[in-house]
Amino acid sequence: MQKKIIYLRDTDSAQQDRINDFYTLFSNELRDANLQEPVQLVKIADIGLYEKGITVKILPENIVYSGIKNTDVKRIVEETIKGNKIIKELLYEKKSKQMRAVLKNCGYIDPESLEDYIAAGGYKALIKVLLEMKPENVVEELKKSGLRGRGGAGYPTWMKWNFARGMNSPEKYVICNGDEGDPGAYMDRSVLEGDPHSVLEGMIIAGYTIGSSKGYFYIRAEYPLAVERVQKAIDQAVSAGLLGNNILGSNFNFELEIRLGAGAFVCGEETALIASIEGKRGTPHPRPPYPSVKGLWGKPTIINNVETLANIPKLIAGGGAKFASVGTEKSKGTKVFALTGKVKNSGLVEVPMGITLREIIFDIGGGILNNRAIKAVQTGGPSGGVIPQEFLDTPVDYENLSKLGSIMGSGGMIAIDETDCLVDLAKFYLKFCVDESCGKCAPCRLGGYQLLRILEKISEGNGELEDLNKLKKISYAMQKASLCGLGQSASNPVFSTIRYFEDEYKKHIVEKKCQAGKCKALIYFKIHPQKCKKCGLCMKNCPSSAILGSREAGYVIDPQKCIKCGVCFDVCKFKAVMKE
């Protein structure tokens, strides 16, 4: 029997010091309960829930109670810890708007156990494919399912596979693209770490379908646990006869190998990824020829994203029609998003296509932190765009997001509230793209840099109206003239923020004001003499000695010395420090 652990956390941001009282309460109750086995009580820094009151998570059962009151502590110890009974009314209810298909096993099975995966229905699809289906049947099912690539572009998976299947070549390859690089995105990582066999199974089915006997996992080296678990899964599958020669007596041979990405974002682009596996410099190449015609080592190759492949086993086992019953007309199935930003419950969410942004942000995400107003949602990572709050009721699918000037991308989703500055946001993403540009093609390499320079100029208060035209001009040229998806979409954050928030740019440029208070050069701190109680806390905390004065005379901020760190603003208990 595993040792019991109680994780304790106050998920309300407004309350202070309450957690220690609960810690004492729990310790006392545990002590009084005369338990046979010791129970570990831990105050943890994050439990994955927000604004849900005092929350505990009890391991190994993984029971989560939220909104606990003082009076509940005794009950929890008595009934759950001692009696192994779940108290239903305290249980944290998971939002039902999620639909877990890809993430179904994650967190529920031991990712290092083949038996667990099989017990959860794993490798049934492979058996079905190998024993009952011809490659063309698999393609047929995929076509029925309407599954589209989850890596970003949303290319129909069946078409990709069918192209490669139709190529007459003794050697073909299957590649799993696990080079997830969008800042804040960890969908693929969770699947690779939490359910590696599902991706393996998807790859073996892909290999069978296109007539390939060799596959590569391309996983970024920054995911050591994913690499370890995938390798373990490969080894297990080999021992179990699920990989290797004559798989399950079907005469089908397939082997898998891991290749590590060396940290270049652009290597998630398929032609750059192929170059990287081949040991060459990871730069994109012109398409056509597409990889399905001429890919790795010049042979027909399909490259699928982790999430796409993880969808395959369930899709095959349940049939394409069943898969297609979820979603919108052109976007089927579910999509995993990494929900972050100013949302109360951040984390991975898996939702059916067609759900609205509002449902994701408010019903699943619990709304905006501190109940502030939402301003926009950013989707698609650095290649994506912002969608202002008036479009929150848009159903999420490939077409709708792209109509709004953003993309599905691999599934990043960031809630933006009134304290976020759009110029600053565009700058952040652009900086990422400038850093990650491979440098091969001029529009991306130089366009991105010039955009960044102009954005910096604007956020420093030196912008001119002409700069807006320059931003548009460069963004357009990058979109049209760049070679690969990275370059073509690198200007999207600028494009879409200007599209919806041109006024905010103009405020920066004309009025030299950043309403969100993010652009340091455009904000000033001042001490309101009437509100100031002359306590001196601000001066004590100022790191740059910019606050002058005394308890008698009161305090003022020397704008020359002020570094706009905001410490005075934060420490003042009387709201006498003002930001403008």
């Binding site: 056509p288 093609c441 001029a442 010039q450 040229a477 003239a481």
Partner: protein, 583 residues
Amino acid sequence: MYKMVEAKINGITVEVKEGTTVMEAAKKVQIKIPTLCKHPDLPPSAACGLCIVKVKGSNKMLRACCTPLEDKMEITTNDPDIVEVRKTVLELILSNHPNDCLKCGRNGNCELQSMASDFGIREDVFRKFLRDIPIDSTTGTIVLEPPKCILCGRCIEVCQNMQNVWALSFLERGLDTRISPAGDIKLSESPCVKCGQCSAHCPTGAIFEKDDTQLVWDALKNQDKYCVIQIAPAVRVAIGEAFGVVGKNLTKKLYALFRRLGFKAVFDTNFGADVTIMEEASEFAERLIHKKGELPLITSCCPSWVDFMEKFHSDMINHFSTCKSPHEIVGTLSKTYYAKKNGIDPAKIYMVSIMPCTSKKYEITRSDEMFASGFQDIDVAITTRELARMIKQAGIDFMNLPDEEADSLLGDYTGAGVIFGATGGVMEAALRTAYNFITGKELEDVNFVKTRGLEFIKEAEIDINGTKIKIAVAHGLSHVEEVLDRVRQAKKEGREIPYHFIEVMACPGGCVGGGGQPYNVTDSLRLKRAAAIYQDDKDKAIRCSHNNPYVQKLYKDFLGKPLGEQAHKLCHTEYKARPIYIR
């Protein structure tokens, strides 16, 4: 049979082979799509982003350089929208390029400069930011100036794929991307063989031949110097391109030019080529008949090839002809034979070589044997491109100069001497003489057409006295290794070696396509230059080196016998294995 596709470009119907790119197809209907990275000689690298076009039915713009034309496509290559994007991209490229045009070697023939002119660029629209990367002039042959690089990738394509040398590569990424030898070492420490193909393909001044013209001007000004000059075979058929004339042999105008520039004697490298043949054909006959030394014999007049062999294929040293290259022979002889005959102090002779080649700048101090006369045999080697600049600087109406002849003793050449400039030429010249040396008879037909043309590996069989002599001719270093591997494989397996004689030239097309030749070289241009060379051969009364009366006189009066003691001392060299990387 190729499949044909029919499409419309700017409304004009065009029918091309399947696989033809939009850019190539457009050219067929007189539409020029701008590009800075696509060189007609090289596969597309898709780096610059200027060649974008619109395809009906797509809201993307596609790159014409690497998009194959598809059936029924409707392409627009030019509208205000496209021009605006192109101009923006060009302005972006210029924001990262120094405005150094006035003091740049490519001033006036820079592709970026003329593109800026075509697009009417009048200001720096975007904030200028330049890269601070040191200039690398360590090889003494080509100069790498990375701040001027627009990262088109041509040099890398040339260095890695055309030449298989891999001295240059891209380092870093994003804004920090730059061309450099791997590991950020100096070019002189890298595998670079100085062929200069990178400099001949560079669209800007980022890779440029080391300019030695000032050395020549200084020597000409110096009263103590007795300046003499020689020109290589390939120079005479390419120099006209700098003056708008393609494929014309300008030998006699060059002779006149050199005298006007102030040279006291005008020689011809072709004479040296005739001497090279005397030695090399003798070597071949020795190895074939007397079994002195290994076969196949491999030619060695290309210094980049020599460097490549010493670095990568030193196991082949024994196969190498020890004979020096033609211009080195003329250099040695000018400071010995010529000096003696004319009573000139050899210390005062200043020998200038005009070469199609950047590597010759390296060769002139390559080893001790390059000082066989007791002095540096060649004082300076300059390229065809440098000569063109000198002509313009001197204010000479070159194309209208009268014809003149070279100075005797080291100036008269045969048809065999001039064809050294084209791939297969050395082989052909050597066979003409070897046949005589082995059989004692003259060939009835001296034309070996099988060794001519641009096929990268050419093979032929010649019957000499009942022996089937098997030869191979390779050019472009990436193709040489295939031939060498065949030899190695046969040796290893104890089979009969597939060749008796191999000619190698580092540059595609041989010296006519040399790294120091005028820009914009393509296969059609290489063929035109070569055609002018073969015409010169055809027009010559004497077409075999051993029949050159001045060569005969040289041996009689001075050198003695081919491979003899004096000949060996002055006309031969040695090879040694060299490290690929110097650390």
